[in-house]
């Protein structure tokens, strides 16, 4: 419907004189919508009907009962308990946790790398900006699946056999074709608990101090060195908790057994390959987002800040960054979502994420519709939740216009 047609409809209750009803925009709109709805309903009905008939004929079970059936396949990374007799539902849950692990790791690495390279592209230093440009133009023009394969098969696949593990820190860190083995951190007594409590107290304290400092600055104009205070608190308080809890931490490296290394923290090759590929690939996009955001801050803003007597650091911290972040954050969130969605490529190298474990369940149980529905619901839920949060953020951050 054209914009204007609707306006006329708003003003006139009935058809204008001399216009046949089927030429009246109001009726046309109603009829068109009814037809569209009818077509969609008919299509949906035919799909449902066909599916029911096909499932009946192929003797495929329906419903979500299969989720409680025993899975009977192994998963090579189980951050939550996955016993031998665990159900399909449990297997998918393990997959969800694994997706979260790779997404969080990827987002952290991609953000750090992306900001460094994005700022690097704007650097005055010719070498730094050339390297950053080359990085962005190379990485973002090569399919991410190819990059995953490269890391998994061409780099990690060539790592030595467990018997001749490489030892970057001899006796503590081992690298072989089964993965990377880091020493395990074991806290004795209450020191682990103390550390955790200290961390939480520090975070709450920083939040409170931040609120107080903002209010004070609004009222009196006095600034508070929040960054240094926060850094101090976040180091000191957990350490204090750790000390009060008994000061007890042992590092337990992996041990060599007959065929492989046991113990320690094991990072499987597929996790490393996936994290590396996703984060370096996404970093090239984040770099462009960051660059665009910084360039979007008008030059007059920097000049005005300097003429007000702000130092370089203050200009950056108080004037440029807050305005750049307003431009950067929405596309940055999009990139985080893309990274999460791209983590589903794990299935190609057998990292047991949501799609991988779900794929095995799909093949074993044959219940394609239910499994795909679970996948889509989880990814869609994440996307919708993120956009809701983003919209709220945008409303808060938007420039208040006249």
């Amino acid at each position: 419907m054209a914009v204007g047609d609707e306006k006329r409809v708003g003003h006139l209750a009935d058809s204008p004189p001399g216009v046949v009803w089927y030429n009246d925009p109001k009726w046309r709109s109603l009829i068109f919508q009814a037809l569209t709805l009818l077509a969609v309903v008919a299509l949906a009905w035919s799909v449902v009907h066909n599916t029911a008939v096909n499932l009946e004929r192929r003797h495929i079970a329906q419903g979500f009962d299969f989720l409680s059936t025993t899975a009977g396949f192994d998963i090579n990374q189980t951050p939550i308990a996955y016993p031998k007799d665990a159900s399909y539902g449990r297997a998918i849950l393990v997959g969800v946790v694994n997706t979260v692990i790779v997404a969080v790791l990827g987002v952290i690495v991609a953000t750090i790398l992306g900001f460094l390279i994005g700022i690097g592209r704007l650097s005055h230093n010719a070498v730094v900006s050339a390297i950053s440009t080359a990085y962005v133009e190379t990485l973002r023009n090569i399919p991410v699946l190819l990059q995953i394969f490269f890391w998994y098969f061409a780099v990690l696949g060539l790592a030595p056999h467990p018997r001749n593990s490489m030892q970057p820190i001899p006796g503590w860190v081992f690298v072989n074709n089964r993965g990377i083995y880091l020493p395990e951190f074991r806290f004795g007594g209450h020191s682990g608990l103390g550390l955790l409590v200290g961390l939480i107290v520090a975070l709450v304290a920083i939040w409170l101090i931040d609120r107080w400092a903002r209010r004070r600055q609004r009222e009196t104009g006095l600034q508070f060195p929040l960054g240094r205070t926060a850094l101090g608190l976040i180091v000191a308080l957990p350490f204090l908790g750790f000390a009060l809890g008994g000061f007890d931490l042992t590092l337990i490296p992996a041990k060599k057994s007959t065929f492989n290394l046991t113990g320690g923290i094991e990072l499987i090759p597929s996790l490393i390959a996936l994290t590396l590929a996703l984060s370096t690939y996404t970093a090239s996009f984040i770099a462009e987002v960051v660059r665009a955001g910084i360039l979007a801050v008008a030059h007059g803003q920097t000049e005005a800040a300097r003429s007000l007597g702000l130092t370089n650091g203050q200009t950056l911290r108080l004037v440029v960054v807050p305005q750049a972040m307003r431009v950067i954050v929405p596309p940055l969130t999009n990139q985080y979502l893309n990274l999460t969605k791209n983590s589903s490529l794990a299935v190609a190298i057998g990292y047991p994420d949501l799609v991988s474990t779900g794929g095995i369940v799909l093949n074993q149980s044959g219940q394609a519709i239910e499994v795909i529905a679970i996948w889509m619901a989880i990814y869609l839920g994440t996307s919708v939740l993120t956009s809701l949060v983003m919209n709220a953020y945008n409303r808060r951050m938007a420039i208040v216009e006249r």
Binding site: M1, A2, V3, G4, D5, E6, S29, F32, Q33, T36, L37, V40, V47, N50, T51, V53, N54, L55, R57, H124, N125, A126, V127, V128, A130, I131, A134, T138, R140, N141, I142, P143, V144, L145, L146, F149, F150, F153, A154, G157, L158, K341, N342, S344, L345, V347, A348, V355, G359, L362, A368, I369, I372, W375, M376, Y379, L380, T382, S383, V384
Partner: protein
């Protein structure tokens, strides 16, 4: 006129002492001083960056040229511990990289399709070449039909070729081009639907767009591969490649719809009002006034969507359709050629191919953006 009395005024009799010349900021030396070694930190950064760049470039050159194996009958020559790129593997397999398992005696058909494709694309993409409208019609309507007839066969005495035999770059291009040609009209309709004032149409469009944008492409492909046959009446058998194409088209249409919507929103309201004042109906307004302007604005966005689609075509290998990457993935473990460096060589070839296509398209899009900037920005 008398001479000026110099006793009461000061006149400088000798030159002032010359100041040291300012540090040069022009020329090569100046450039090095300001752009490379502006400060100690800057200098360290420069040296570190140069070291990193040199090591990366050298390791690629070392692998691809210095340590590379150039000739050989099988993978044996590449199985030495120091061997770099295994080029004989690429020589042996390059036809499969291009055409997959497409029968050797029918490959001329695929080559002809490639030729027609690029032959029509070049004059379409370059400015100042006449007959754009005819060219576009041939490219978007004629070419797909021609490609379908030539590649599938079965008509005009051409040998039928199952799509399961297709592969390599051929499939990559087929998926990418079909994806964009079919999803563009769908995307435009969805964008119009989302901007519509009719609540039912708008809601349906929003739900459709947001649904497909919210899920990963891999689940869409799984859905197309596993669920589409269930959706069809029993006697309809959908080809595997066609299923993937449907999935790719729907997925891309949702993204294109958002791109086009961006263009629609950028058109000032006066354009709609002007069209209405001239007495144009909805489709006339859209087709003659709004769309030509909106699409021009979003051409770079469309090219960007096409680049992502082109990269995403690699995902079809997960539902066992062998595109370029799929062919490399399946041939690198061929026992005849299996060697530690075979996979890396294959990935290098694929990366270079994809990079050339994608980088070329992104440069084209940037150039187009500059060319189309007709000074409407206020």
């Amino acid at each position: 006129m008398s001479a000026i009395d110099t006793s009461s005024v000061f006149v400088r009799a000798e030159m002032a002492e010359a100041r040291a010349a300012p540090i040069s900021t022009t020329g090569l030396v100046g450039w090095v001083r300001t752009r490379l070694f502006g400060s100690v930190f800057d200098g360290l950064l420069t040296l570190l960056g140069m070291a990193i760049a040199a090591s990366v470039i050298w390791s690629i050159f070392d692998f691809a040229v210095v340590r590379a194996v150039w000739t050989g009958e099988d993978g044996g020559v590449c199985r030495t511990p120091t061997a770099g790129a295994c080029w004989p593997y690429v020589t042996a397999y390059w036809k499969q990289f291009l055409f997959g398992r497409y029968p050797a005696e029918e490959r001329w058909r695929a080559i002809l399709v490639f030729a027609v494709f690029f032959g029509l694309l070049a004059p379409l993409a370059l400015p100042k070449i006449p007959f754009k409208r005819l060219n576009a019609l041939l490219f978007f309507v004629g070419m797909p039909i021609f490609a379908y007839v030539m590649l599938c066969g079965g008509w005009f005495g051409l040998e039928p070729v199952e799509t399961t035999m297709w592969g390599g770059l051929l499939v990559t291009l087929v998926v990418a081009v079909t994806g964009i040609v079919c999803s563009l009209p769908l995307g435009i309709l969805l964008a119009l639907g989302r901007r519509s004032k009719m609540p039912i149409v708008r809601t349906l469009s929003v739900v459709f767009i947001e649904f497909w944008r919210g899920v990963p492409m891999i689940t869409v492909l799984f859905m197309a591969a596993n669920m589409l046959p269930l959706f069809m009446p029993d006697n309809v058998d959908v080809d595997k490649l066609l299923r993937a194409l449907i999935g790719v088209t729907i997925f891309t249409a949702a993204y294109l719809a958002e791109t086009v919507r961006g263009g629609l929103q950028a058109i000032p309201k006066g354009q709609y009002e002007g069209a209405m004042a001239l007495g144009l109906g909805y489709w006339q307004t859209m087709g003659l006034i709004i769309m030509p302007q909106a699409l021009k604005l979003v051409i770079p966005g469309i090219v960007n969507s096409f680049i992502s689609l082109f990269k995403d075509t690699t995902l079809v290998l997960i539902v066992s359709i062998f595109d370029l990457l799929g062919m490399i993935q399946s041939s690198r473990s061929d026992p005849v050629w299996a060697a530690p460096s075979t996979g890396t060589t294959g990935y290098l070839v694929a990366a270079a191919t994809f990079w050339i296509f994608c980088f070329g398209m992104s440069r084209y899009s940037m150039w187009l953006e500059r060319r189309l900037a007709t000074g409407h920005k206020r």
